[in-house]
Structures are given as C-alpha cells and as structure tokens.
Symmetry: C2
Amino acid sequence: MFRHVVLFTWADDATDEQRAAVATELGRLPGIIPEIRSYTLGTDAGVNPGNYEFALVADFDSADDYLVYRDHPAHQAVIAQYVKPILASRSAAQYSY
Amino acid sequence: MFRHVVLFTWADDATDEQRAAVATELGRLPGIIPEIRSYTLGTDAGVNPGNYEFALVADFDSADDYLVYRDHPAHQAVIAQYVKPILASRSAAQYSY
C-alpha cells in the first residue's frame, strides 16, 4: 500500500463550524474518488501537548493512485474552499508499506 | 480505533545508518508491546517537495493502550537512543476513528 499522512493546525480565529466543515468535506472524498482504499481523519484527541490539531491518513494501491487523489478536482476544491482559508501549518509525508 | 500519527525530519548530518536504524528499531516494537494493533512506518517517497522525511502510523484499541505504548520502556529506549540523536523536527497527532 501507499500511505499519505497529513497534519494540520488551524488559525486561531477559525470557527468551530469551519473546523468541522474540513472533516465533513474531506470525508465525502472516498465516495467521489474510487482510488481511495482507506481514509481516516480526526481532530487531535488532546492527549499530548504540542500536537497538530487535525490528522488524515489515506491509503492507495500505488503512488499513481495517490496522485489521482492529490490532483482530483474534488480534492482540490475542498483544499481551496475549506482547508486553506483556516490553515496555519501543514506537515505531510507519503510512504510505501 | 485510536490512531497515533507522527512525522519526523532528521538532522542534515544524520547518516544513512542512523536513519535506517530508526525504522529497524521502531519496527521491533510490535513484537514487544502487545497493545499495538497496527504499525506502519516508512521513509517519505519523495513525491512531494517540502515533506517530512519519515512517518509512522500506529493503531490501538483505546487511548489508554496508546499511552501504554507511548510510555513503554522499550519505546522510550528507541526514542532516546535512535530518534532524538538525529531529530530535527517532529509533528504528531492522535485521533479516534
């Protein structure tokens, strides 16, 4: 499998509705992009200080399938409309396992 | 499930042997810590610029089981002996899904 991991923190002035909308809108993507094999996301549980606020882990059969997801118009639309307006920082990596 | 996600970047002077040892030593932990349900890790595939260099995703039945892993002496030993000596930056989050 090819795994995509991304972590976000949000701007201080991001509203609860804006934060929730990211999860809702990203969560629609597995129904739109068939290359997605597994897709989990969530708000940080608050167990450790200094964490990022939101995490997403997505699995694909191959790097090429990940690229289909990365560049898919529906994904790009969620990034532009819901993620970027409240994004403070982003960390990511992809790896095969 | 309770998912732990962590990303690392390494110091510029970290050797290939040191970087490889992190994966090897972390990879032993599922055989030592029975609370681990799933454990995948890998070096960034190089698909995107600006990524972190190493990622790890671990699943547990509960937040309490994650804490057993987090605080386990075998895990702490790997952090102290293999991760921290070459660590440049770390990002993490935990979430339920």
